[in-house]
């Protein structure tokens, strides 16, 4: 058994050395296919992250007609915090609001001298739980607010955020379709490249069958070869992605387009990197398997 495994590996590596050009063609094809799919994946992941970052800021601000008294406040707090959609409640008293306004005016703060400290209305800022950060969640919170307190005015997440969410949903859908299409295309190309390498070796396959090699014995070295090529293809695509991500995209995007604090671009997690390499191995095996069926027959 061990002898056989060693033989299969020797044969697979020998084959790859014997046809370096075909072998590198297969590896490169797989690397390009995998890198394309992975790039797509990275775009989706980062856009989703962006969406998550932006929606984190969705909050409902309720301006109150009358500032609640110190005795009413804890009761109101408790009520608002009990809303199932709400994550955090913050109370801004009129003086807090004035202080904030002042700090925003900075040098011009003197303009506010002599102005009544209670001029600005008191307000509650309601942060929503992640799954309610959408139009529906906002609508429900507004309805609850109307039934709970005397609200003078409401401010909440802008309309465009809703549209952005729709866009992300669509992107996810398109990426699923395009991604599976890409994977099939990759499989097709890889299988054809491998078919080419098998075609170049059809004599060998014929002679093996002639001298009494079993189907398994003929196929395993080729499957192993496909797996090894897939492995290399996966590693090459990973290396390519890592280098282009760190050297080009991350550096240029963060310095030119977005402020670094605004967005930290995500790369694949170690688990996802492993998945990419495993996907390469699977691609290689599957590609060999589909083409072997055409060439090895008794």
């Amino acid at each position: 058994m061990l002898e056989n495994i060693r033989y299969f590996f020797r044969r697979a590596i020998r084959n790859m050395q014997q046809w370096p050009l075909l072998c590198s063609a297969a590896i490169l094809t797989m690397a390009v296919a995998l890198a394309t799919v992975a790039t797509f994946f990275l775009v989706v992941v980062n856009v989703e992250q962006l969406a998550a970052n932006w929606t984190r800021e969705i909050q409902v601000i309720a301006y109150l007609e009358d500032a609640p008294t110190a005795r009413e406040l804890p009761g109101l707090f408790a009520k608002l915090e009990n809303f199932p959609e709400v994550e955090k409640v913050k109370y801004i008293s009129p003086s807090d609001a004035m202080a904030r306004f002042k700090s925003r005016l900075a040098d011009e703060a003197s303009l506010l001298e002599g102005v009544d400290r209670n001029l600005l209305p008191a307000s509650f800022e309601l942060m929503l739980k992640a799954k309610f950060r959408n139009q529906d969640g906002i609508d429900r919170v507004i309805e609850r607010l109307d039934n709970t307190i005397n609200v003078e005015d409401l401010r909440y997440g802008q309309k465009w955020l809703e549209r952005f969410n729709t866009f992300v949903g669509m992107l996810r859908f398109i990426s699923l379709i395009l991604g599976s299409f890409l994977i099939f295309a990759a499989l097709f190309i890889v299988s054809n490249t491998i078919k080419l390498t098998l075609y170049a070796r059809r004599d060998e396959l014929e002679i093996m069958a002639l001298v009494g090699a079993t189907m398994r014995f003929i196929k395993i070295p080729f499957l192993l070869e496909g797996a090894l090529q897939g492995l290399l293809g996966g590693v090459v695509s990973l290396g390519f992605l890592a280098i282009s991500f760190h050297l080009l995209i991350k550096r240029s995007l963060t310095s030119f387009w977005l402020t670094p604090t605004d967005l930290n671009l995500l790369f694949m997690t170690p688990g996802q990197q492993l998945m990419l390499v495993i996907a390469g191995v699977m691609l290689g095996i599957l590609g060999s398997l589909t083409s072997l069926r055409r060439f090895v027959r008794f």
Partner: protein, 224 residues
Amino acid sequence: MIQLFNVTKSYGGESAAVKDLTIQIPKGDFVYVTGASGAGKTTFLRMLYAAEKPTKGQILVNNQNITRIRSSQIPYLRRKIGVVFQDFKLLQSRTVYENVAFALEAQGKKRYEVSKKVYQALKEVGLEHRLQRKPLELSGGEQQRIAIARALVVDPLILLADEPSGNLDMEVTLDIMELFKKANARGTTVLLATHDHSLHQRFPRRVITLEKGKLITDQQSHHS
């Protein structure tokens, strides 16, 4: 050893490649299969190692009915049969040693066993000094001897040769005939398809003659 009963093989055309053949070949026999090209010699041999299935009739090889053989069993049948072709069918990218070792490796033989047997087989055909050469660096006669070494290295019960001397001159052909005779003397049944009549005049043995797929003569020779 080899028995054919009313074997017919047609490829769907009007005339069959092999028609109603009934032949018995006992173990250790040496048989020439002759006839003009297109007479059905190659089809006859191909059916014996299950590269073709007969359309009608039954074939028994070593008491196994190979007309009903499952494809997973074909490799095990072929391990008992060595085949030699007119075009040698060697792997040009492999060395002489690797070409012969291939047959043993395909049967899953151990590495030390392989090297010993390959050396012996190459010595048998007089090419043990060419181990590391590639086939194309050798003459046609030498290439055919490698092919014969590959066929014989597995100690086959049957050796099938399809026009083995078709591309070779007479002197080389005589060398190769010696190899077949030696294998036959060790007990291997030899079937040699050829259209070269001089061979069986020089080395008289049983001759089966085919014409348009039919058996027309089956002459036993009286060699000693």
